[in-house]
């Protein structure tokens, strides 16, 4: 079991888990999102290879209306 903090919320997942698998489990596949892992950008193209680890802090963002 690996515990991740995603957008400030703690979530537990069965490991091992890649960024691409996480996106799918969060039902975000096909959406335009950007991912930051422990303060570093994870390029979308590398999601299938990016192995997440226990304790990772992730930010997943989208574009919304704003001034």
């Amino acid at each position: 079991m690996i515990a991740l903090t995603i957008n400030g919320e703690r979530r537990d997942f069965e490991g091992p888990l890649t960024a691409a698998e996480l996106i799918e489990r969060l039902q975000l596949s096909g959406k335009r999102v950007a991912l930051e892992r422990n303060g570093q950008i994870v390029p979308r193209g590398t999601f299938p290879h990016e192995r997440l680890a226990h304790g990772d802090r992730l930010e997943i963002v989208v574009a919304v209306g704003g001034g």
């Binding site: 975000l28 335009r32 950008i41 979308r44 963002v61 574009a63 919304v64 704003g66 001034g67």
Partner: protein
């Protein structure tokens, strides 16, 4: 052709608009279309994780192929948060590097924290971003931001969302006199005349959100703002007449007037 040039790209419209505070995406789309804006600001926020997979997306309402997105850092209170937000934005928008930096000082006034803003601007410019920067109307800070390499300086006219109009045209003029990059009035515009005044002062463009989104009729106001920015720009380029207290030179010819009738005795008398 009189075009706005930012970081080497030309834009026919000198009105930049935000995409926040609208009733729904349909109203957002209609208002922005009526405004004629080509550059639209967007915010970067945490997505909901799994709760609502079918939430509509802003990118569907305003396709990035049709508009130049200007991701902002609204809501950031530190240089670090602003830099991280814009790195996420660049990844989100496939390497798009034109951004709006704003680092706020407090949630009460939303006044910019210029110290954090300067730090963030330096980091972002070094990292290859083209930074359009929201700042106070302090001409010294504006110059420093330009020296750092920002591609546009965007002083406030009054506080964000206040609709108070241009409170200090003199400071804007001081900035305009020295700036070599476009000066965009960002924040404070309330109605069309405010936008026209900003353009008449010589500003290169105006950026607004609330003035349109919170008008009773946002689409009509968007159209009014488009006209105001165009009219103000034309007036600036035309060069206004000097102001004077009164004019001793009437607008109509002073010769060729008909003469007063010679006094003649009333009719019907001998």
């Amino acid at each position: 052709m009189d075009q706005l040039i930012i970081a080497g790209n030309s834009y026919a419209s000198r009105l930049l608009v935000g995409t926040g505070k609208y009733k729904d995406f349909e109203q957002t789309r209609s208002a922005i279309e009526a405004s004629g804006a080509q550059i639209v600001t967007v915010a970067i926020r945490r997505t909901n994780i799994g709760q609502n997979a079918n939430e509509p997306s802003l990118l569907d309402a305003l396709p990035p192929s049709k508009y130049t997105y200007l991701p902002n850092t609204a809501g950031c209170y530190s240089a670090d948060d602003a830099v991280r937000t814009l790195r996420l934005a660049r990844e989100l928008l496939d390497g798009h590097d034109l951004v709006k930096l704003e680092v706020l000082g407090d949630p009460h006034t939303l006044f910019p924290n210029v110290i954090e803003t300067l730090q963030a601007a330096a980091t972002l410019v070094k990292d290859g971003f083209k930074v359009m920067v929201y700042t106070s109307d302090d001409p010294i800070i504006a110059r420093q931001l330009e020296d750092i390499g920002c591609v546009a300086v965007m002083p406030l006219a009054s506080l964000i969302g206040s609709g108070m109009g241009i409170l200090n045209p003199w400071n804007l003029q001081l900035i305009l006199e020295k700036a070599k990059v476009p000066v965009v009035v960002d924040a404070g515009v309330g109605t069309a005349s405010d936008a026209a005044i900003a353009m008449e002062l010589g500003c290169d463009a105006v950026l607004m959100n609330t003035a349109v989104a919170k008008a009773q009729n946002p689409v009509l106001m968007a159209q009014a703002m488009r006209k105001a920015v165009e009219a103000g720009r034309d007036a600036f380029r035309a060069g206004r007449m000097p102001k004077k207290l009164y004019s001793a030179t009437p607008s109509s010819p002073t010769t060729g007037l008909i003469q007063p009738q010679p006094s003649s005795p009333p009719r019907g008398r001998a």
